[in-house]
C-alpha cells in the first residue's frame, strides 16, 4: 500500500490518480484508457458505455457479480472481442500497436486442458508473440520459460502432461505463461479461482512484485474480503461501471450495494 501514502487529496478523482504515477512534468500516465465502450454478444449489451482509466503502476481489482461483464471487459480491451462502440488505448495508442506491452491470463476454464502438451510447452507460448510468425522458440525462449516456471514454483512439473495438473497448478502455468511475456500491463481473469491458501499467497506475492517493478496489474477478483489487503485500486462493474478509484476511498458498502444489488455490509474494516 505504499503508493497510497502519497495521496494528498482524495476528493478529486483527477488529483488522486495524478499522485499515483506522475512523471516529471506532473502529467498522469495512464496505462489503459477505455472510452464509451459498449459490447454486446447478441442484442442486449453486456457492457454499457464504460469509461475507465487505469493509472500506471496500480494493482487493480475488478469486482462484480457473475455475468457482470468482467471477462468481457478484459477481452474487449485486448481486442479479442470487437466492441459495438467506443475505443481502447494502451499508453495512448490502440491495442494492436502495443501488444508487446500487454500480457493476458485467461480464465482457466477457457481452454481444454486435455490438449496433448506439457506444462513447459504451454509456458513457452508466452514467447510466441515476440517471436512473431514462423520463427521457432530456441534456447533463449526455453530459458525464459523455465525461469517463469521456477517463479511460480512449478519447475518440478515442467514435463507433466497438462491434464494431469491440479486446478491450482494449471492456474500457475497460465500465470507463468503471462510472466514470460515480460509485459508492462497484465490482465488476469480470476487467477485465484480454485487455488488453495498457499498458492493464493504465492500468486499475490508475484503480483505485488510486478507492481513493485512498475508494472500495471489488473485482476478480476471474486473474494471481496481480500480486496483491501491485496489491491490498491478497484473497479466496480455490473454492466455499467459503478465506480473506480483507490480501494481506500471507494471500497465501501455504498458501492458494494450498488454493484451487487443486495444490501451489502463489508465485514472488512479499513
Amino acid at each position: 500500500m505504499k503508493s497510497m501514502d502519497n495521496i494528498k487529496n482524495t476528493n478529486s478523482k483527477d488529483e488522486t490518480t495524478a499522485s499515483i504515477s506522475a512523471n516529471e512534468a506532473g502529467a498522469v500516465v495512464m496505462a489503459v484508457k477505455v472510452d464509451d465502450l459498449t459490447v454486446a454478444y447478441n442484442y442486449k449489451p453486456v457492457l454499457w458505455d464504460i469509461d475507465l482509466e487505469i493509472p500506471e503502476g496500480v494493482l487493480m481489482a475488478i469486482v462484480g457479480p457473475n455475468g457482470a461483464g468482467k471477462s468481457t471487459l478484459i477481452k474487449a480491451i485486448l481486442g479479442i472481442l470487437k466492441p459495438i462502440a467506443g475505443s481502447v488505448s494502451i499508453y495512448g495508442k490502440p491495442y494492436h500497436k502495443q501488444r508487446s506491452h500487454v500480457a493476458y491470463v485467461p480464465q482457466k476454464g477457457s481452454v481444454d486442458w486435455d490438449f496433448p502438451t506439457v506444462a513447459l510447452d504451454v509456458v513457452m507460448m508466452g514467447t510466441y508473440g515476440s517471436l512473431g510468425w514462423i520463427k521457432r522458440p530456441g534456447v533463449k525462449e526455453k530459458k525464459a520459460a523455465l525461469e517463469a516456471l521456477e517463479k511460480v514454483g512449478m519447475l518440478p512439473f515442467k514435463n507433466r502432461q497438462i491434464s494431469q495438473l491440479s486446478g491450482g497448478q494449471q492456474q500457475r502455468i497460465f500465470l507463468a505463461r503471462a510472466l514470460v511475456q515480460d509485459a508492462s500491463i497484465y490482465f488476469m481473469d480470476e487467477p485465484f479461482q480454485g487455488v488453495d491458501a498457499t498458492t493464493e499467497i504465492a500468486i499475490i506475492n508475484i503480483l505485488k512484485e510486478l507492481r513493485k517493478a512498475g508494472k500495471t496489474v489488473v485482476v478480476v477478483h471474486h473474494d471481496l474480503q481480500t480486496v483491501p489487503e491485496y489491491f490498491d485500486w478497484v473497479t466496480f462493474l455490473n454492466v455499467k461501471k459503478i465506480a473506480t478509484g483507490p480501494v481506500k476511498d471507494i471500497f465501501n458498502d455504498d458501492n458494494l450495494t450498488k454493484t451487487y444489488g443486495i444490501n451489502y455490509k463489508v465485514s472488512v474494516q479499513k
Partner: protein, 375 residues
Amino acid sequence: MNLQDYFSLVFSDYTLRTITFGTAILGAVTGMLGSFAVLRKQSLLGDAISHAALPGIALAFLITGAKDTNTLLLGALVSGLVGTFWIRGIVTKTHLKSDTALGLILSLFFGFGMLLLTFIQKQPNANQAGLDKYLFGQAATLVESDVWLMAIVTGICLIVMLLFWKEFKLLLFDPDYTKTLGFNTKFIDILITTFIVLAIVLGLQTVGVVLMSAMLLAPAAAARQWTNSLGTMVFLAAIFGAFSGVFGTAISASQDNLSTGPVIVIVASVFVIFSFVFSPGRGLLFRQIRFIKNRRDLEFQKTLAFMYHIAETHEDISHPHTIKILNNFQGFTRKTLQKLADKNYVTLDGAMWSLTEEGFETAANLYNQNFKKHE
C-alpha cells in the same frame, strides 16, 4: 487372390501399386489434418465438407459435360469451400451453435447434390453413368496422375504445417490468447480449414462423400490415445491413416467383391477400437488394470495397518495373534495375508500370525509415506 498374393503383386502390378500408393497417401494426409479437426472439436466439420462437395461434382459435370476426375474434383473443391465458409459465416454472424450450422449446411448441400444426381441420371446422355461412385468412392478408378496430385497436395500441406507449426498449436490450444499475441487467427484458421477441405476433396474419388469424415476422424482419434504430444499425435495419425489405406486396399483386393472405401474405413475403425482398449495411458484395459492394482495395494496396506494397531498394544510386537481376529476387518483376504507373508512382513504359523520387525517398521511408516506421496 489372397493377402499374400496381394503383397507380392503390389510391387509388380501397376494398377494395384497405384491404388495402394493412393490410399496410403490419402490416409496419411487425412490422418494428419484430422488431428487438427479432432483437437478443435470440429468432428462434424469433415462430414459437412464432404457432403457439401457433392453438388459441386454434379454441377461441374452439368456445366462441362466432362467426366474427367480433375474437373469434377475442382467442382467439389469449390462447393466444399463455399459450404465450409458458409458454416463459418453462420457461426460468427448469428448465434446458432456450430453443430447446428454444420448440420444445416450438410443436409442442404447433400440434398441439393442428390437432386442434381437424379436429374443427371434421367438425362439421355451416355456419358452420365458413374457419377454416383462419388457417394461411396471407387479406388479402382485411381490412376497415376491422381496419385501424383495427392502426393503434391500432401507435400504442400506438410511444408505449410511445419512452417506454421507453432501458430497451429497455439490456435488449437487457446484461440483467444493467440489473438492477444497479435497473430491473425482468421488467417491460421482459414489455412487449416482450406487444407482440410483439400484433403477431403482428394479422398472423394477413393472413399466417397458418405464415409470421408471417418478417414479424417478415425486415425486422429486412435492416435490421441497413445501420446501426450501434439507432434507425435499428428505423426501417428498419419501412420495409422496410411496403414488403414494399405490394409484396406489389400483386403478389398483379395476379396473380389468388397469395395475399397468402406474397407479402409473399417480398418481405420479397428485402429480406433484397439487404441481405446489397449493404449497404455488412456486405454480402458490398462485403466482397469491400474484400478485393480490400486485396490489390491490398498487392501494390502489396510490389512498391514490393522495388524499394526493390534501389535502395537503388545509389549512384544511379534506376539502371535489368531487369524480369526482379522475377519472382523473388511479389507482382509487370504491372498493379502499370503502376500504379506511373502514380503516377510508377517510370519504365519498355523492359525496364528505375527508381525515381523520389518513389517512393523513398514506399517509405522505407511501413513507418513502416503502423506509424502500426496504432497
